[in-house]
């Protein structure tokens, strides 16, 4: 595993596909293991050979790491600093998740900028070489053919040169092949072989980015022992997941395929209160709101959308594998638990915090606490409870009252003055996934205590994290 700390100036990520092919003449386990190990060894030598090439994505830069970091174009020398490579890379396209104001960009991630590289093989050699031979073997046997998805991350400091980076990259690649060999052999059952795949996880500071090789196709539920080991190794608490597949680190330059915005609140400046602290949702959620998914729920779906935001949080933190439920699925769940009549499904009826709690329990197996205030004005006094919630659970909170439902993503609260602000994610937004608009117009924004209807009563649903890894 490769660990990246916060001193990193540039993160180099190399991805590539290596073809793993061999022939197994027999089914004897030892023979099979030997052949597989030998083939991995061949791949390792390939990575260390002179024909190994790293091509920097979106740039004309190509490096031969095992030829003393010879590179093209000629302006790049082995002593060029890694962070200077950014100049050669074409400007990144705007993330598909909408426009960003450039000032706020630097706040986004704790990992430094990423340079992507592609692992390639040079197949040309100075000639003349021997003409090809065709060899045919007739033998009843087994043929192994896998494409290994290599994906390594290496951190470089301010003063690291291309040459330094090459050494680290080649080592990371060779190391990953060793890990893959281990995982492959561990998971071999007779004549079936699972493809090993690397997954990156961002652990809390100072541990940083870590890469783990998992076997493809094996669900998280069968990898508990591995995760326990990892938690021990990295001294992580054993009551929340860090290494489930859903916890995989999402690199800043990779767009999300589903098109939803992630954590729009990160683009905001948080309020400063006298002796106040900011308590925020932990982890990643998606912004769900009116009119998405071609569902016209304008005027009635706000609580459903808040519930979807909450579900997205549990899914992305790895607690559940269920995709975010649709309005109908939510309604069906309520019918299934006996809370509503069958005619409820397909209707435009509102739901409240109690229903949200019921759905979270029935569909996702989660428990939630309900907090009740008889008047909106009382919410101002709930600072401590909300702060504690975000500290310990860190889940988004659904609040329903009056005629509206919202999601609370955090509070800014002063213990001494009692001042309070609420970070609100508003599901009533009907526009496109435009981060600029959403933050400028306050669809995701900090609100004061007067945001609430002072005389209406409110119910809050505070989902609890299951204590699992």
């Amino acid at each position: 595993m490769v660990v990246v700390d916060s001193e990193t100036a540039t993160v180099l990520r190399v991805k590539g596909l290596l073809e793993f092919r061999c022939q197994l003449d027999g089914t004897d386990e030892q023979l099979v293991r030997n052949v597989i190990s030998r083939t991995f060894e061949t791949l390792r030598s390939q990575v260390k050979s002179e024909s190994c090439v790293l091509a920097v994505s979106d740039s004309p830069v190509i490096i031969w790491p095992n030829k003393d970091a010879y590179a093209t174009p000629e302006e790049i020398t082995p002593s060029t600093l890694c962070e200077d490579m950014h100049q050669w890379i074409q400007a990144d396209e705007q993330e598909s998740s909408g426009k960003k104001s450039s000032k706020k960009k630097s706040k986004k991630s704790s990992v430094a900028s990423v340079i992507n590289l592609r692992l390639m093989t040079e197949v040309t050699k100075p000639g003349p070489l021997s003409a090809p031979i065709l060899t045919k073997t007739v033998l009843k046997s087994h043929f192994v053919s896998v494409t290994l998805p290599l994906d390594c991350v290496v951190c470089t400091g301010r003063s690291d040169t291309i040459k330094d980076a090459c050494e680290q990259l080649i080592e990371a690649l060779t190391h990953q092949l060793c890990e893959m060999e281990k995982v492959t052999l561990q998971n071999m059952k007779g004549m079936t072989l699972l493809v090993p795949e690397p997954v990156h996880f961002l652990l809390p500071e100072p541990k940083g980015l870590v890469t783990v090789v998992y076997p493809v196709g094996v669900p998280d539920s069968q990898l508990v022992a591995q995760r326990k080991e990892l938690h021990q190794q990295f001294e992580l608490p054993d009551d929340r997941p860090y290494f489930r597949r859903a916890n995989a680190y999402h690199f800043p330059n990779e767009p999300y395929k589903d098109g939803y915005l992630r954590n729009p609140h990160l683009a905001l400046t948080h309020p400063t209160l006298d002796n106040g602290k900011v308590y925020l949702v932990q982890g990643i959620y998606s912004y769900h709101h009116y009119m998405q998914d071609r569902v016209d729920d304008n005027g009635w779906g706000c609580a459903y959308r808040s519930l979807q935001t909450i579900c997205s949080w549990f899914q992305q933190q790895g607690y559940v594998e269920l995709p975010v439920p649709t309005h109908k699925e939510i309604q069906q769940a309520l019918v299934d638990v006996g809370d509503k009549q069958a005619s409820f499904v397909g209707s435009r009826q509102w739901i409240g915090s109690i229903e949200v709690q019921a759905v979270l329990s029935h569909l996702l197996g989660l428990t939630s606490k309900i907090l009740f205030v008889s008047q909106g004005a009382e919410l101002a006094s709930k600072g401590r409870e909300l702060a504690n919630h975000f500290l310990t659970e860190g889940t988004p909170v659904m609040i329903g009252g009056g005629v509206l439902a919202h999601t609370i993503l955090g509070v800014a609260w002063s213990e001494t003055t009692g001042q309070i602000r609420y970070l609100i994610l508003d599901p009533h937004y009907t526009g496109a996934e435009d981060l600029q608009v959403i933050t400028d117009k306050g669809w995701c924004g900090w609100k004061g205590p007067d945001f609430w209807d002072q005389t209406a009563y409110y119910n809050l649903c505070l989902p609890q994290r299951p204590k699992v890894i």
Binding site: R21, S57, T72, R118, E122, T135, K136, S141
Partner: protein, 425 residues
């Protein structure tokens, strides 16, 4: 506004000579390069005589014979050069001649493109030329057809002779390592099935080459959009280990070459296509040899060959008499002499070449000096990475690329030797 063909002036002399022959009709192929801006013809090749043709048959056009000739010729052209059209020298009515030419053109081009292992590019030129020459009046009628469109009508085109056409053409070349390992299906390991496997394997390999990076003189040009971001990765969970009846592998190196008039971006494409077709051609030739010898041995003990080792023919280049770097090529099997090569060059391409003219230095024949079986009697072979970078010698000028590296050759032999099996005869 039709196409304009700029033709090497030697071709005029060649066609004139053909006019003086008694035979009518005389058909042949036109060799050159077409691009969106320009069209060039560098060579004309008459269809060789069929040996047993009766006098009567000689007066008609044998479409199959012409297309077969075209197929063979196409294999002998390095990258950048192709069969761009057909010609006919006949006193027959112009309209009839055009009809014949149209038939031949479509047959020829369809056959040649069906053998390609690559997909045509969107901006490939699909117009091909037909030339009708009246031997008495020497009048030439030049027309083009769009072979992508079966209903295409003849469009007028210009035919202009020019000297020194090829003197400024650029050569792009490289020596490339081939390393393929493919499973043979269970229970079906005859040569015919090996052909199927190889074709599939070659197609996959061709795709890899197509999607790889090609650097010219060590430089990657900024418009390089060959690498597609976010490739679809085929994760075959169950097919990882499959039963097979054996394996077939192709390992070794090939010398690839392409000639270009201008236009660097197309250089990479021409080079890649040459890489793919030279390997495919040789494998095809090998298979044809094997099938022929299979038939001879009556195929009674078809699979008795448990292990077989076959040297693919190696590539020989022969310069064209025109000034400039252009060469054609041929493939020489290890049991053939150079005289057979010169004979073929004469028969197929109507070229008079002496053995001294032939460039045999690009590839070396593999000599089997000894055989070895690895312990356990099996072999382990790893295919190369999904993406490839083709690099031309960074320190060579673009017009020629000849490197002599005996050390490398020896290293390759040494590793290859450890993967040999005994050849059962």
């Amino acid at each position: 506004m039709g196409r304009g063909y700029i033709v090497q002036d030697d071709v005029e002399g060649y066609l004139s000579k053909l006019c003086e022959q008694k035979a009518d009709p005389v058909t042949g192929l036109l060799i050159g390069q077409s691009s969106t801006q320009r069209d060039f013809v560098v060579m004309a090749i008459r269809t060789p005589q069929k040996e047993e043709s009766a006098a009567a048959a000689r007066n008609s056009v044998d479409k199959e014979w012409v297309t077969e000739h075209a197929r063979q010729v196409s294999r002998m052209l390095p990258g950048g050069l192709s069969v761009v059209g057909v010609f006919i020298i006949t006193n027959a009515d112009a309209k009839d001649a055009l009809t014949t030419l149209r038939q031949l053109l479509f047959a020829v081009e369809n056959l040649i493109s069906s053998e390609h292992l690559w997909d045509p590019a969107d901006d490939d030129v699909t117009d091909c030329v037909t030339l009708h020459i009246n031997p008495k009046t020497r009048k030439t009628v030049c027309r083009t057809f769009d072979i992508k469109d079966p209903k295409s009508v003849a469009k007028p085109a210009d035919w202009k002779y020019q000297s020194g056409l090829c003197s400024s053409w650029a050569t792009v070349s490289c020596s490339l390592n081939v390393d393929m390992l493919l499973p043979l299906p269970n229970n079906r390991t005859s040569t015919g099935n090996m052909e199927e496997c190889l074709k599939e394997g070659l197609k996959a390999w061709a795709h890899q080459i197509e999607s790889g990076l090609c650097l010219i003189d060590g430089k990657r040009l900024p418009e390089d959009s060959e690498l597609t971001v976010g490739q679809v990765e085929n994760k075959r969970l169950t097919d990882v280990i499959e039963q097979c009846g054996g394996s077939v592998s192709v390992t070794g190196a090939i010398h690839s070459r392409a000639y270009l008039h201008s236009n660097k971006p197309k250089a990479r494409l021409a080079e890649k296509r040459d890489v793919v077709s030279t390997v495919a051609t040789r494998v095809q030739m090998m298979l044809e040899e094997l099938l022929a010898s299979d038939q001879e041995s009556k195929g009674s003990c078809r699979d008795k060959q448990q292990k077989g080792l076959f040297c693919l023919p190696h590539r020989i280049f022969c310069p064209l008499k025109v000034s400039g770097p252009l060469c054609v090529c041929d493939y020489q099997f290890s049991d053939e002499g150079l005289s057979e090569v010169t004979e073929r060059l004469k028969e197929m391409l109507d070229i008079d070449a002496a053995e001294e003219d032939l460039d045999t230095r690009q590839e070396m024949t593999f000599e089997i000096t000894g055989c070895d079986i690895t312990p356990g009697g099996h072999r382990v072979c790893v295919c190369k990475v999904d993406m490839h970078a083709c690099v031309l010698c960074p320190d060579c000028p673009p017009f020629c690329c000849l490197g002599v590296a005996m050390a490398t050759a020896v290293a390759l032999l040494a590793t290859a030797a450890s993967m040999l099996y005994l050849n059962d005869i």
